[in-house]
Protein backbone atom coordinates (compact mmCIF):
# COMPACT_ATOMS: atom_id res chain seq x y z
CA UNK A 1 0.00 0.00 0.00
CA UNK A 2 1.31 3.44 -0.85
CA UNK A 3 -1.63 5.77 -0.16
CA UNK A 4 -0.56 7.80 -3.15
CA UNK A 5 -3.88 9.58 -3.40
CA UNK A 6 -3.85 10.81 0.17
CA UNK A 7 -0.26 11.93 -0.08
CA UNK A 8 -0.90 13.88 -3.28
CA UNK A 9 -3.87 15.61 -1.65
CA UNK A 10 -1.70 16.41 1.35
CA UNK A 11 1.06 17.76 -0.86
CA UNK A 12 -1.40 19.91 -2.79
CA UNK A 13 -2.75 21.35 0.43
CA UNK A 14 0.80 22.10 1.51
CA UNK A 15 1.63 23.79 -1.79
CA UNK A 16 -1.56 25.82 -1.79
CA UNK A 17 -0.78 27.06 1.71
CA UNK A 18 2.87 27.68 0.88
CA UNK A 19 1.91 29.63 -2.24
CA UNK A 20 -0.66 31.68 -0.36
CA UNK A 21 1.11 35.02 -0.91
CA UNK A 22 1.33 34.37 -4.64
CA UNK A 23 -2.28 33.51 -5.32
CA UNK A 24 -3.41 36.09 -2.82
CA UNK A 25 -1.45 38.69 -4.78
CA UNK A 26 -2.92 37.49 -8.04
CA UNK A 27 -6.43 37.49 -6.62
CA UNK A 28 -6.04 40.85 -4.88
CA UNK A 29 -4.13 42.42 -7.73
CA UNK A 30 -2.71 45.12 -5.49
CA UNK A 31 0.89 43.98 -5.40
CA UNK A 32 2.58 46.97 -6.83
CA UNK A 33 0.63 49.56 -4.90
CA UNK A 34 2.57 51.55 -2.33
CA UNK A 35 0.80 53.65 0.27
CA UNK A 36 0.34 57.20 -0.99
CA UNK A 37 0.20 59.83 1.72
CA UNK A 38 -1.89 62.92 1.38
CA UNK A 39 0.22 66.04 1.62
CA UNK A 40 -0.27 68.17 4.67
CA UNK A 41 -3.04 70.72 4.26
CA UNK A 42 -0.77 73.52 5.47
CA UNK A 43 2.82 74.22 6.36
CA UNK A 44 6.12 73.34 4.71
CA UNK A 45 7.90 71.42 7.47
CA UNK A 46 6.85 68.85 9.99
CA UNK A 47 7.66 69.48 13.63
CA UNK A 48 10.78 67.37 13.25
CA UNK A 49 12.65 66.17 10.21
CA UNK A 50 10.15 64.21 8.18
CA UNK A 51 12.37 61.18 7.61
CA UNK A 52 13.03 60.99 11.32
CA UNK A 53 9.34 61.49 11.89
CA UNK A 54 8.49 58.57 9.67
CA UNK A 55 10.81 56.34 11.68
CA UNK A 56 10.08 57.54 15.18
CA UNK A 57 6.61 59.13 15.34
CA UNK A 58 5.35 56.28 17.49
CA UNK A 59 7.95 57.00 20.17
CA UNK A 60 7.29 60.73 19.99
CA UNK A 61 3.57 60.29 20.42
CA UNK A 62 4.12 57.78 23.19
CA UNK A 63 6.35 60.28 25.01
CA UNK A 64 3.84 63.07 24.47
CA UNK A 65 1.06 60.94 25.88
CA UNK A 66 3.06 60.25 29.04
CA UNK A 67 4.21 63.85 29.45
CA UNK A 68 0.79 65.39 28.93
CA UNK A 69 -1.26 62.91 30.89
CA UNK A 70 1.13 62.24 33.74
CA UNK A 71 3.19 65.40 34.02
CA UNK A 72 0.88 68.02 32.60
CA UNK A 73 3.70 69.05 30.27
CA UNK A 74 1.74 70.23 27.23
CA UNK A 75 4.20 72.16 25.10
CA UNK A 76 6.82 71.04 22.62
CA UNK A 77 9.61 73.12 21.20
CA UNK A 78 9.94 72.36 17.47
CA UNK A 79 13.36 73.04 16.00
CA UNK A 80 12.24 72.78 12.41
CA UNK A 81 9.37 75.23 12.92
CA UNK A 82 11.28 77.26 15.46
CA UNK A 83 8.15 77.59 17.54
CA UNK A 84 6.36 75.99 20.45
CA UNK A 85 3.47 73.75 19.66
CA UNK A 86 0.93 71.83 21.65
CA UNK A 87 1.57 68.15 22.25
CA UNK A 88 -1.65 67.02 20.72
CA UNK A 89 -2.42 64.29 18.23
CA UNK A 90 -5.77 65.62 17.22
CA UNK A 91 -4.97 69.30 17.25
CA UNK A 92 -1.33 69.47 16.17
CA UNK A 93 -0.83 66.41 13.95
CA UNK A 94 -4.27 66.27 12.49
CA UNK A 95 -4.24 70.02 12.34
CA UNK A 96 -1.97 69.83 9.30
CA UNK A 97 -2.59 66.25 8.14
CA UNK A 98 -6.27 66.85 7.90
CA UNK A 99 -7.38 63.31 7.19
CA UNK A 100 -6.49 60.35 9.37
CA UNK A 101 -7.85 58.08 6.71
CA UNK A 102 -5.69 59.55 3.97
CA UNK A 103 -2.58 59.92 6.06
CA UNK A 104 -2.16 57.82 9.18
CA UNK A 105 -4.20 54.87 7.98
CA UNK A 106 -2.44 54.58 4.66
CA UNK A 107 0.78 53.08 6.03
CA UNK A 108 -0.87 51.55 9.04
CA UNK A 109 -3.34 49.65 6.91
CA UNK A 110 -0.66 48.70 4.42
CA UNK A 111 1.26 46.97 7.20
CA UNK A 112 -1.63 45.99 9.42
CA UNK A 113 -0.35 48.23 12.18
CA UNK A 114 -3.08 48.90 14.70
CA UNK A 115 -1.89 51.74 16.96
CA UNK A 116 -3.93 52.15 20.11
CA UNK A 117 -4.03 55.95 19.72
CA UNK A 118 -7.58 55.62 18.54
CA UNK A 119 -8.67 53.60 21.52
CA UNK A 120 -9.07 56.98 23.26
CA UNK A 121 -8.71 59.63 20.59
CA UNK A 122 -11.23 60.23 17.88
CA UNK A 123 -10.63 61.51 14.42
CA UNK A 124 -12.39 64.91 14.53
CA UNK A 125 -13.39 64.48 10.88
CA UNK A 126 -15.14 61.22 11.55
CA UNK A 127 -16.70 62.68 14.66
CA UNK A 128 -18.30 65.46 12.70
Amino acid sequence: MHNTGKIIIGLLIFLVIAAFPIWYAVAGGKTGEMPVLEKAARGENCIIDSVLMKETHMFLLDDWRDEVVREDDRWYRSMTLDSTIEKSLTRTCLGCHASKANFCDRCHDYLAVVPYCWDCHVDPKEFE
Binding site: H2, I7, L11, Y24, G32, M34, L111
Partner: protein, 332 residues
Protein backbone atom coordinates in the same frame (compact mmCIF):
# COMPACT_ATOMS: atom_id res chain seq x y z
CA UNK B 1 32.36 20.19 20.48
CA UNK B 2 29.53 19.75 18.02
CA UNK B 3 27.74 22.70 19.62
CA UNK B 4 30.81 24.86 19.07
CA UNK B 5 31.05 23.75 15.48
CA UNK B 6 27.41 24.67 14.94
CA UNK B 7 28.02 28.05 16.54
CA UNK B 8 30.95 28.62 14.21
CA UNK B 9 28.72 27.84 11.25
CA UNK B 10 26.22 30.42 12.44
CA UNK B 11 28.91 33.05 12.78
CA UNK B 12 30.07 32.36 9.24
CA UNK B 13 26.49 32.61 8.05
CA UNK B 14 26.13 35.89 9.90
CA UNK B 15 29.15 37.36 8.16
CA UNK B 16 27.95 36.49 4.68
CA UNK B 17 25.10 39.03 4.40
CA UNK B 18 27.09 41.65 6.29
CA UNK B 19 29.97 41.45 3.85
CA UNK B 20 27.64 40.84 0.94
CA UNK B 21 25.56 43.94 1.42
CA UNK B 22 27.75 46.35 3.37
CA UNK B 23 31.05 45.70 1.62
CA UNK B 24 30.16 44.26 -1.75
CA UNK B 25 26.82 46.01 -2.14
CA UNK B 26 25.14 42.87 -3.45
CA UNK B 27 21.74 43.98 -2.21
CA UNK B 28 19.95 42.47 -5.16
CA UNK B 29 21.58 39.11 -4.55
CA UNK B 30 20.62 39.10 -0.89
CA UNK B 31 17.24 40.70 -1.34
CA UNK B 32 16.06 38.79 -4.37
CA UNK B 33 18.29 36.02 -5.69
CA UNK B 34 18.95 34.21 -2.43
CA UNK B 35 15.36 34.38 -1.18
CA UNK B 36 14.09 33.03 -4.49
CA UNK B 37 16.67 30.28 -4.47
CA UNK B 38 15.81 29.39 -0.89
CA UNK B 39 12.09 29.20 -1.54
CA UNK B 40 12.70 27.12 -4.64
CA UNK B 41 14.94 24.75 -2.68
CA UNK B 42 12.35 24.54 0.05
CA UNK B 43 9.40 23.79 -2.17
CA UNK B 44 11.16 21.48 -4.58
CA UNK B 45 13.10 19.80 -1.81
CA UNK B 46 10.02 19.37 0.34
CA UNK B 47 8.00 17.85 -2.47
CA UNK B 48 10.93 15.67 -3.49
CA UNK B 49 11.31 14.31 0.01
CA UNK B 50 7.63 13.58 0.39
CA UNK B 51 7.52 11.89 -2.99
CA UNK B 52 10.60 9.89 -2.08
CA UNK B 53 9.00 8.77 1.15
CA UNK B 54 5.76 8.05 -0.64
CA UNK B 55 7.56 5.83 -3.12
CA UNK B 56 8.42 3.51 -0.24
CA UNK B 57 5.66 1.03 0.39
CA UNK B 58 3.64 0.61 3.55
CA UNK B 59 3.65 -3.18 3.57
CA UNK B 60 2.00 -3.68 6.94
CA UNK B 61 -0.39 -1.89 9.20
CA UNK B 62 1.83 -1.42 12.23
CA UNK B 63 -0.22 0.97 14.33
CA UNK B 64 1.14 1.53 17.80
CA UNK B 65 -1.87 1.19 20.05
CA UNK B 66 -1.81 3.46 23.08
CA UNK B 67 -5.21 2.48 24.39
CA UNK B 68 -8.00 -0.03 24.31
CA UNK B 69 -8.88 -1.63 20.97
CA UNK B 70 -12.42 -1.82 19.69
CA UNK B 71 -13.63 -5.33 20.40
CA UNK B 72 -16.78 -5.78 22.42
CA UNK B 73 -19.43 -3.07 22.46
CA UNK B 74 -19.39 -3.18 26.25
CA UNK B 75 -15.71 -2.33 26.53
CA UNK B 76 -15.09 1.33 25.89
CA UNK B 77 -12.54 1.61 23.14
CA UNK B 78 -10.07 4.44 22.94
CA UNK B 79 -10.89 6.00 19.60
CA UNK B 80 -8.05 8.51 19.78
CA UNK B 81 -5.29 6.31 21.21
CA UNK B 82 -6.15 3.15 19.31
CA UNK B 83 -8.41 4.48 16.55
CA UNK B 84 -10.40 1.90 14.67
CA UNK B 85 -11.48 4.06 11.76
CA UNK B 86 -10.39 7.03 9.69
CA UNK B 87 -12.11 9.59 11.89
CA UNK B 88 -10.24 8.27 14.88
CA UNK B 89 -6.99 8.43 12.94
CA UNK B 90 -7.70 12.03 11.97
CA UNK B 91 -8.35 12.84 15.62
CA UNK B 92 -5.22 11.06 16.71
CA UNK B 93 -3.11 12.81 14.10
CA UNK B 94 -4.62 16.15 15.00
CA UNK B 95 -3.68 15.62 18.63
CA UNK B 96 -0.16 14.65 17.61
CA UNK B 97 0.36 17.49 15.17
CA UNK B 98 -1.36 20.26 17.08
CA UNK B 99 -0.72 19.29 20.69
CA UNK B 100 2.16 16.79 20.64
CA UNK B 101 0.07 14.12 22.34
CA UNK B 102 2.83 11.53 22.55
CA UNK B 103 5.36 13.92 23.97
CA UNK B 104 2.81 14.84 26.61
CA UNK B 105 3.10 11.29 27.95
CA UNK B 106 6.74 11.84 28.72
CA UNK B 107 8.01 10.51 32.01
CA UNK B 108 11.35 10.54 33.71
CA UNK B 109 12.75 7.33 35.10
CA UNK B 110 14.63 7.66 38.34
CA UNK B 111 16.54 4.93 40.13
CA UNK B 112 16.51 5.28 43.89
CA UNK B 113 17.81 3.30 46.85
CA UNK B 114 16.13 -0.01 47.33
CA UNK B 115 16.54 -0.38 44.38
CA UNK B 116 13.36 1.42 43.50
CA UNK B 117 12.45 2.75 40.09
CA UNK B 118 10.08 5.67 39.98
CA UNK B 119 8.59 7.39 36.98
CA UNK B 120 7.65 11.00 37.38
CA UNK B 121 5.83 13.13 34.86
CA UNK B 122 8.18 15.18 32.74
CA UNK B 123 6.36 17.84 30.79
CA UNK B 124 9.11 20.39 30.17
CA UNK B 125 10.12 19.03 26.82
CA UNK B 126 6.50 18.92 25.76
CA UNK B 127 5.83 22.45 27.01
CA UNK B 128 8.95 23.94 25.41
CA UNK B 129 8.34 22.07 22.18
CA UNK B 130 4.74 23.18 22.01
CA UNK B 131 5.54 26.79 22.89
CA UNK B 132 8.32 26.87 20.34
CA UNK B 133 6.30 25.40 17.48
CA UNK B 134 3.18 27.43 18.12
CA UNK B 135 5.19 30.63 18.53
CA UNK B 136 6.97 29.92 15.30
CA UNK B 137 3.67 29.39 13.52
CA UNK B 138 2.10 32.55 14.93
CA UNK B 139 5.17 34.58 14.09
CA UNK B 140 5.16 33.20 10.57
CA UNK B 141 1.48 34.04 10.18
CA UNK B 142 2.03 37.52 11.56
CA UNK B 143 4.63 38.03 8.85
CA UNK B 144 1.92 37.74 6.25
CA UNK B 145 1.38 41.44 6.71
CA UNK B 146 4.48 41.73 4.57
CA UNK B 147 3.57 39.14 1.97
CA UNK B 148 -0.02 40.01 1.30
CA UNK B 149 -1.81 43.19 0.34
CA UNK B 150 -4.21 43.90 1.89
CA UNK B 151 -2.97 42.18 5.05
CA UNK B 152 -5.09 39.04 5.53
CA UNK B 153 -7.81 38.96 8.17
CA UNK B 154 -5.90 36.78 10.61
CA UNK B 155 -2.95 39.14 10.92
CA UNK B 156 -4.54 41.87 12.98
CA UNK B 157 -6.33 39.34 15.17
CA UNK B 158 -3.10 37.49 15.88
CA UNK B 159 -1.27 40.76 16.52
CA UNK B 160 -3.91 41.90 18.95
CA UNK B 161 -3.85 38.59 20.77
CA UNK B 162 -0.09 38.29 20.71
CA UNK B 163 0.32 41.86 21.96
CA UNK B 164 -2.55 41.60 24.37
CA UNK B 165 -0.72 43.14 27.30
CA UNK B 166 0.33 46.21 25.32
CA UNK B 167 3.69 46.29 27.01
CA UNK B 168 6.42 48.38 25.42
CA UNK B 169 6.58 50.20 22.17
CA UNK B 170 6.42 48.68 19.66
CA UNK B 171 4.25 46.30 21.63
CA UNK B 172 6.11 43.26 22.77
CA UNK B 173 4.68 40.13 21.26
CA UNK B 174 4.39 37.21 23.63
CA UNK B 175 5.52 34.83 20.94
CA UNK B 176 8.76 36.75 20.48
CA UNK B 177 9.64 36.23 24.10
CA UNK B 178 8.30 32.69 24.10
CA UNK B 179 10.23 31.49 21.08
CA UNK B 180 13.52 32.76 22.45
CA UNK B 181 12.83 31.24 25.86
CA UNK B 182 11.70 27.91 24.41
CA UNK B 183 14.59 27.54 21.97
CA UNK B 184 17.04 28.51 24.66
CA UNK B 185 15.55 25.86 26.91
CA UNK B 186 15.73 23.27 24.14
CA UNK B 187 19.37 24.16 23.65
CA UNK B 188 20.27 24.14 27.33
CA UNK B 189 18.69 20.76 27.94
CA UNK B 190 20.85 19.34 25.17
CA UNK B 191 23.85 20.80 26.91
CA UNK B 192 23.05 19.98 30.51
CA UNK B 193 21.45 16.55 30.33
CA UNK B 194 24.34 14.13 29.81
CA UNK B 195 22.13 11.73 27.85
CA UNK B 196 20.99 14.52 25.55
CA UNK B 197 24.50 15.82 25.11
CA UNK B 198 25.57 12.33 24.14
CA UNK B 199 22.95 11.91 21.44
CA UNK B 200 23.05 15.47 20.08
CA UNK B 201 24.69 15.99 16.73
CA UNK B 202 26.13 19.17 15.32
CA UNK B 203 23.10 19.42 13.10
CA UNK B 204 20.82 19.39 16.17
CA UNK B 205 22.56 22.42 17.60
CA UNK B 206 22.74 24.07 14.22
CA UNK B 207 18.97 23.99 13.76
CA UNK B 208 18.42 25.52 17.18
CA UNK B 209 21.06 28.21 16.68
CA UNK B 210 19.69 29.06 13.27
CA UNK B 211 16.18 29.56 14.58
CA UNK B 212 17.49 31.52 17.52
CA UNK B 213 19.44 33.75 15.14
CA UNK B 214 16.35 34.39 13.06
CA UNK B 215 14.38 35.30 16.16
CA UNK B 216 17.17 37.48 17.52
CA UNK B 217 17.70 39.43 14.29
CA UNK B 218 13.97 39.96 13.98
CA UNK B 219 13.68 41.15 17.54
CA UNK B 220 16.65 43.50 17.15
CA UNK B 221 15.00 44.96 14.10
CA UNK B 222 11.71 45.51 15.81
CA UNK B 223 12.79 46.76 19.18
CA UNK B 224 16.25 48.30 18.90
CA UNK B 225 18.23 50.81 16.92
CA UNK B 226 18.59 48.32 14.04
CA UNK B 227 15.14 49.32 12.90
CA UNK B 228 14.03 48.66 9.37
CA UNK B 229 11.57 50.72 7.40
CA UNK B 230 8.78 48.23 7.13
CA UNK B 231 7.14 50.01 4.23
CA UNK B 232 10.28 49.27 2.25
CA UNK B 233 10.37 45.74 3.60
CA UNK B 234 6.86 45.16 2.39
CA UNK B 235 7.73 46.63 -0.97
CA UNK B 236 10.54 44.10 -1.28
CA UNK B 237 8.34 41.25 -0.10
CA UNK B 238 5.49 42.14 -2.41
CA UNK B 239 7.93 42.48 -5.28
CA UNK B 240 9.09 38.94 -4.58
CA UNK B 241 5.64 37.40 -4.40
CA UNK B 242 4.45 39.20 -7.53
CA UNK B 243 7.64 38.28 -9.41
CA UNK B 244 8.50 41.93 -9.99
CA UNK B 245 11.34 42.20 -7.53
CA UNK B 246 12.47 45.62 -6.40
CA UNK B 247 15.18 46.38 -3.89
CA UNK B 248 14.50 49.57 -1.95
CA UNK B 249 17.69 51.45 -1.17
CA UNK B 250 16.97 52.20 2.45
CA UNK B 251 16.81 48.64 3.78
CA UNK B 252 19.41 48.13 6.48
CA UNK B 253 21.89 45.35 7.13
CA UNK B 254 19.93 43.81 9.99
CA UNK B 255 17.12 43.10 7.61
CA UNK B 256 19.49 41.35 5.23
CA UNK B 257 20.87 39.30 8.10
CA UNK B 258 17.37 38.32 9.11
CA UNK B 259 16.37 37.50 5.57
CA UNK B 260 19.53 35.52 4.95
CA UNK B 261 19.05 33.37 8.04
CA UNK B 262 15.48 32.72 6.99
CA UNK B 263 16.69 31.79 3.53
CA UNK B 264 19.23 29.40 5.02
CA UNK B 265 16.50 27.82 7.13
CA UNK B 266 14.25 27.34 4.14
CA UNK B 267 16.99 26.01 1.95
CA UNK B 268 18.29 23.69 4.65
CA UNK B 269 14.87 22.45 5.66
CA UNK B 270 14.25 19.66 3.16
CA UNK B 271 17.70 18.17 3.69
CA UNK B 272 17.48 17.97 7.43
CA UNK B 273 15.60 16.53 10.35
CA UNK B 274 13.32 19.55 10.10
CA UNK B 275 11.41 17.49 7.58
CA UNK B 276 9.69 15.91 10.56
CA UNK B 277 7.09 18.56 9.73
CA UNK B 278 6.04 16.57 6.70
CA UNK B 279 7.12 13.24 8.10
CA UNK B 280 4.81 13.16 11.07
CA UNK B 281 1.84 12.95 8.73
CA UNK B 282 3.30 9.84 7.16
CA UNK B 283 4.32 7.97 10.28
CA UNK B 284 3.02 4.41 9.85
CA UNK B 285 2.62 3.78 13.58
CA UNK B 286 0.32 6.77 13.94
CA UNK B 287 -1.56 7.33 10.71
CA UNK B 288 -3.30 4.00 10.34
CA UNK B 289 -6.32 2.63 12.11
CA UNK B 290 -6.05 -0.29 14.47
CA UNK B 291 -8.57 -2.31 12.50
CA UNK B 292 -6.13 -4.90 11.25
CA UNK B 293 -8.36 -7.90 11.70
CA UNK B 294 -11.35 -6.03 10.35
CA UNK B 295 -9.98 -4.61 7.14
CA UNK B 296 -7.41 -6.20 4.91
CA UNK B 297 -4.15 -4.37 4.33
CA UNK B 298 -2.38 -5.19 1.09
CA UNK B 299 1.38 -5.40 0.79
CA UNK B 300 2.32 -4.37 -2.75
CA UNK B 301 5.48 -6.47 -2.76
CA UNK B 302 4.16 -9.53 -1.00
CA UNK B 303 6.04 -12.36 -2.72
CA UNK B 304 5.59 -16.12 -2.47
CA UNK B 305 7.89 -17.85 -0.03
CA UNK B 306 9.03 -21.38 0.52
CA UNK B 307 6.85 -23.05 3.11
CA UNK B 308 6.68 -26.49 4.58
CA UNK B 309 3.33 -27.70 3.26
CA UNK B 310 1.03 -30.04 5.07
CA UNK B 311 1.69 -32.76 2.46
CA UNK B 312 5.46 -32.53 2.94
CA UNK B 313 4.95 -32.51 6.66
CA UNK B 314 2.69 -35.55 6.67
CA UNK B 315 5.07 -37.39 4.38
CA UNK B 316 7.82 -36.80 6.89
CA UNK B 317 5.86 -37.82 9.96
CA UNK B 318 3.35 -40.34 8.58
CA UNK B 319 4.80 -43.33 10.35
CA UNK B 320 4.87 -41.83 13.80
CA UNK B 321 1.43 -40.32 13.31
CA UNK B 322 0.05 -43.64 12.20
CA UNK B 323 1.56 -45.33 15.22
CA UNK B 324 -0.03 -42.70 17.45
CA UNK B 325 -3.38 -43.21 15.77
CA UNK B 326 -3.61 -39.68 14.44
CA UNK B 327 -5.80 -38.89 11.42
CA UNK B 328 -3.96 -38.81 8.09
CA UNK B 329 -4.69 -37.50 4.64
CA UNK B 330 -2.94 -40.39 2.94
CA UNK B 331 -2.41 -43.78 4.49
CA UNK B 332 0.97 -44.31 2.90
Amino acid sequence: MSALFALLMIIVLLLIPIIGTEVLGLNYVFGVVIPYAAIAMFLIGFVYRIVRWASSAVPFKITTTCGQQKSHPWIKSSSLEAPHNTWGVIGRMALEVLFFRSLFRNTKADLREGPKLVYGPSKWLWAAGLVFHWSFLIILLRHFRFFAEPAPFFVSGLQALDGFFQIGLPIIYLTNVAIVAAVTFLFLRRLYDPKLRYISLGSDYFALFLILSIAASGILMRYTGFRADIVDVKQLAMGLVSFHPVVPETIGVMFYIHLFFVAVLFGYFPFSKLMHMGGIFMSPTRNMANNNREERHVNPWNYPVKTHTYEEWEDEFRDVMKAAGMPLEKEK
